[in-house]
Homo-oligomer: 218 residues x 2
Amino acid sequence: MEIKVMHQVMEWNEDVSEKVRAVLREKRVCLVNVMGSPGAGKTSLLTALIARLRGTFSIGVIEGDIAGQIDAEKIAALEIPAAQLDTDGACHIEAMSIQNLLPAFDLDALDVLFVENVGNLVCPAEFDIGENFRLTLLSVPEGDDKVAKYPLMFTDTDCLVVTKCDVLPYFSFDKERVAADYRAVNPEGPLFCVSTKTGDGMEALVAHLSARIREALA
Amino acid sequence: MEIKVMHQVMEWNEDVSEKVRAVLREKRVCLVNVMGSPGAGKTSLLTALIARLRGTFSIGVIEGDIAGQIDAEKIAALEIPAAQLDTDGACHIEAMSIQNLLPAFDLDALDVLFVENVGNLVCPAEFDIGENFRLTLLSVPEGDDKVAKYPLMFTDTDCLVVTKCDVLPYFSFDKERVAADYRAVNPEGPLFCVSTKTGDGMEALVAHLSARIREALA
């Protein structure tokens, strides 16, 4: 019975996600769903991406959190249109919440809307929120076994970003193991290793994202 | 509708968790539910605790994972009775799964059964699995804002363990902020800062857990 209801909810989510996609397509806005564990560095990566992309694209951000608005305040401080989505305890974002939040933005003035999902390596992967593409983060301190242990998140992503690479010397983390596990579940998916602290790897990631955003807006 | 079904499932889980608790009470086995984000160091902490507690208590472990059996193999290598619980994609463990797994252990010969929950700072906190007490891990690399951002996990725990304290020099992590946020949601909850790599802080944690286990077995 639980599974059946889950299925109904998922179908309903799919309908709404298609509506969100249609609105954003009409308005020429590219939606990027940013996912990863708590503390994977989602807000830091967004901050670093905004700094590098804002000269080219007009950017907005939806910050999904279970409680509080710590991250939305960080983004708003960058003078970027930002909205807080309080999931009120829920472990993921659904398309309905994005649909409800779109009127908070001037979509005619936006090129890219980043959604920072709830910190969770499991549940968010199951929900299409109407995104054009997905970024999944895995931070070095989390360990190199996470692709094997949480496969859906890495199978259903358009890009894997290994973050906090500046602390590689202090952790036992085999990048080749991550790359091999990722190729096994997602053979076409690109992989980037970055540090927002040193800036290493950001240039290649920004080039890739810029191309994907331009494709979505074409 | 979704919420109503969720409520029914939760009530059903409560019934089963009471049954698990009754069986374990009769068999004098203390169940410890170990929770935290992916990569918080749950398996490493369990390994370190087993090394220090096995002289005093007879220990078994249930390893909950979405896929694979990487962690169960690590525990079984310690020659401790270990069972793998494959949640097949589910983001948390429910009491029914524990009930189903109990026959895999010789409960008459056990004092402590550790359950390593799925790596997730959200969903596992909602499910009573029949435990005597809960350990929640927060690793230094995850950041010092996590208690405020994921409050339920820290409110509904019996003990907070800050892990990977050996890497404190490489991260901006304010232990006082974590302690203050924790006291705000869980005024009586003890807090330990440990490193399984150096052993720092383990002695105090082991003393606390030993006392809690003895209480449960009394």
